[in-house]
């Protein structure tokens, strides 16, 4: 069993002091420890953004891809070696702007990876522009008079799109967040955890204080059952997604188990050669 320390790289962080991403990092590391993962069998795919730098700080196999494409990379990785624990991380711009198409298709494909979106309602790395989750009226360098677009509600979209695991955490609420990530990893299909992770430099509206005042914690609300799509949608609608906890989960079989003939042994462990008998059968289809 690996320890928290073993999941650290010791590299000095490039994040601003106070950034929400520190909390996401710690929660991910705790969750990895909790599920009994080990650094060598863990793979983390990250997108581009302040958030995307998270892979630099977790001792594991890390791949830092192009902006918006973390999810397809994770699909490739998972099918190549289905024994790996695969986590995917990125920002709200990475996930819901340039990455929106892949996000919707990952949900319907339901392959077994855990997607952690570090949502700060702003573009951090490019120094403060409006993001798809920015609220209407949010002022940035690209919308100095306030955003005029309806914000994306990622959780509602995920539930509507047929997701099998949908949760939201807050980087300041460590135990809940770590637990949600742990459950996401344990879920045998695609799990989405949208994490409120404040940007202290470019978002002066959706601050820690603001969230502490407005966020509702489902865990404190006795009786919430996360197994019904309509209840989940209604809850998200009522709270305007200002809610943390496990919102929806269903029993499921992951994509990789449904692919006809797909090997249960990780592909990377197989002999790459084709055997003569199979080969002749294949050629026979061309005769």
């Amino acid at each position: 069993m690996a320890t928290l320390q073993e999941f650290r790289t010791g590299e000095k962080s490039w994040w601003c002091p106070g950034c929400g991403d520190f909390g996401v990092l710690t929660a991910m590391q705790k969750a990895l420890v909790a599920v009994g993962a080990s650094p060598d069998t863990t793979a983390i795919v990250a997108g581009i953004g302040c958030s995307g730098k998270i892979g630099n700080y977790i001792n594991s196999y890390n791949i830092h891809v192009t902006h918006g494409r973390a999810l397809p990379a994770a699909l490739g990785l998972k099918l190549a070696n289905r024994d790996l624990t695969v986590l995917v991380a990125g920002g709200d711009g990475d996930a819901y702007a340039i990455g929106m198409g892949h996000f919707m298709h990952a949900l319907r494909r339901n392959y077994n990876v855990t997607y952690i979106v570090m949502d700060n309602h702003v573009y951090g790395l490019t120094k403060g522009q409006t993001s798809p989750t920015s609220e209407e009226g949010f002022k940035t360098k690209t919308t100095p008079q306030g955003s005029i677009e309806r914000p994306i509600h990622p959780l509602m979209l995920a539930v509507s799109a047929g997701a099998t695991f949908v949760a939201q955490g807050f980087s300041s609420w460590q135990p809940q967040l770590a637990h949600l990530i742990q459950k996401g990893i344990e879920h045998p299909g695609f799990s989405l955890i949208n994490v409120i992770s404040p940007c202290v430099t470019y978002n002066k509206v959706n601050t820690y204080d603001w969230y502490k005042k407005t966020l509702k914690n489902l865990d404190e609300q006795s009786g919430y059952q996360p197994n019904d799509r309509s209840t989940a949608l209604a809850t998200l609608h009522q709270t305007e997604e200002l809610v943390t906890g496990l919102i929806y989960q269903e029993e499921t079989t992951p994509y990789e188990d449904l692919i006809p003939g797909f090997s249960q042994t990780p592909l990377v462990k197989q002999d790459p050669h084709v055997d003569p008998e199979t080969w002749n059968k294949i050629l026979a289809t061309l005769e």
Partner: protein, 578 residues
Amino acid sequence: MLAWKIGGDQGEGIDSTGDVLATVANRMGYYVYGYKHFSSRIRGGHTNYKVRIATSRVEATTRRTDILVALNQETIDRNVHELEGGLILADESFSPVLPEGADAHLLTLPLTNIARSLGSIMMRNMVAVGASAALIQLPLDAFVDYVTVKFEKKGEAVVNANREAVTTGYQRVIDEYRALLTFKLGDPSRGDRLVITGNDAIALGAIAGGCRLMYGYPITPATEIMEALVRWFPSVGGAVVQMEDELGSITAVIGAGFAGARAMTSSSGPGISLMQEAMGLASVAEIPAVIVDTQRGGPSTGMPTKQEQSDLLALLHGGHGDTLRVVLTPGSVEECFEDAVEAFNLAEQFQTPVIIATDLSLALWKQSVERKSLNGPNVSIRKGSTLSPEDLLALGENVFQRYQFSPDGISPRSLPGEKNGQYLATGVEHGPSGKVSEDPANRERMMNKRLTKLLGVAAIRDGFRYEGPDHPELILVGIGSTVGILREALHHLRGQVGLGWFRTLSPFPVDRVQSVLAPAKHIMVVEQNALGQIRQLMAAHGVSDDRFTSYLKYDGVPFLPEEVVTRAMSLLSPVEVH
């Protein structure tokens, strides 16, 4: 040598009819080559399928048609100029007319009526097949056997009706047109051959080369690679994922390559353009990836069902920033198989994206290929430089230096799942450990490492092939499907003419090109694009002087060997033309 063609409207089964003829002739020991003319629509619109049948290898189409099976008048009107005295077998139902001045014999048969009388007009094409067999003087049995197996699953009634259709067509020709049966094909040669396309060969090569993942998105003329792997992968435990787009496809391939599986994607121009950004990631993060570009008429949607070789510069230079890419250019169906296997080897050995560039003609047209040239189980697989578990463990507390500098620029890699091998693969510039680095000195070294490493490809692969005399007066230079066309042209050019073709377009095999072309008095670069992309590339590498001329074509139609012969003759000194 004989050229048979069937033409009609799209959606009328022209394809499968041509396939029957090609398959049966191949089984009998003839060499076949099939060429289809089609449009970007599903039904309607003229389509035709030409099959050349010969007693030796054939890998191009020529102008002449000996027998034209016409299912409508448009087919006659559009193709009659190819006949030069040949036969037209037309369905009576549309009251065929021979255009004025046509140099052809018109035979008619009530193809539709015969089919209808056998139960369904769907069998019209089978009647035509039987009639064609008679005209070509191929034995009826072989066709009857073929349909028996082909329709087996559909039940005895269907089998019988189709046998009847073929037989009736055959018999009616024998009965009515015996006098015209003058074609002599010559004796077939023994041998075990399959009739396959370049797309088939690539899919086969991928399987043989250990590829077990394919992420793709449909597009003409690449789709068949994905579709073939969908059929074949279950038997080897692999998976094909139809992605939401090509951005997703290439990135999934990169994810798989990072994890250590052999993975590929295939597309054509529009999809390849979308992959440009991610290919740069694979280059910088040194991740193997195999990408097939089956070129078609561009730019943009362009001419999606037409032949062209116009993505070459984009394959080399399409992404932002400084990279070298490995671009393999097979010049025959067999080379498609070889290069598909080799692409996976090179990708892992050099830890880099490898592109296989084919073109519509090479990708889609079927031809006879020796079974022994498709020896899947026996190909050699080179996994490239990896650290052994012992090496990794020996690192102890030290961080694995994934990108450590080395004389050949290649650094051994670790694969996820291996103890002690954790590292960061990133598209951001990084130091030897993989960690992001903005240090100028490191940047320069890393850039040199990546660029010089790829020059190693030239050391292990002959990137420019040559066939021909030692002291050629003229060398024809080609690529992709053009190579087969030039080879056929060579048969008709008895002078001192040689053929040079690219097997690796990048890294550019400059030394080899220079030495091959050195003795030639003239060099004609034959390419199917408007910009003379290969010429430009040669010039950019200093291979250019006044011996060079270009022969370009960019109207969507392949070169004909005859056209190449004419053009070549104009370069050769008169005394040498026989």
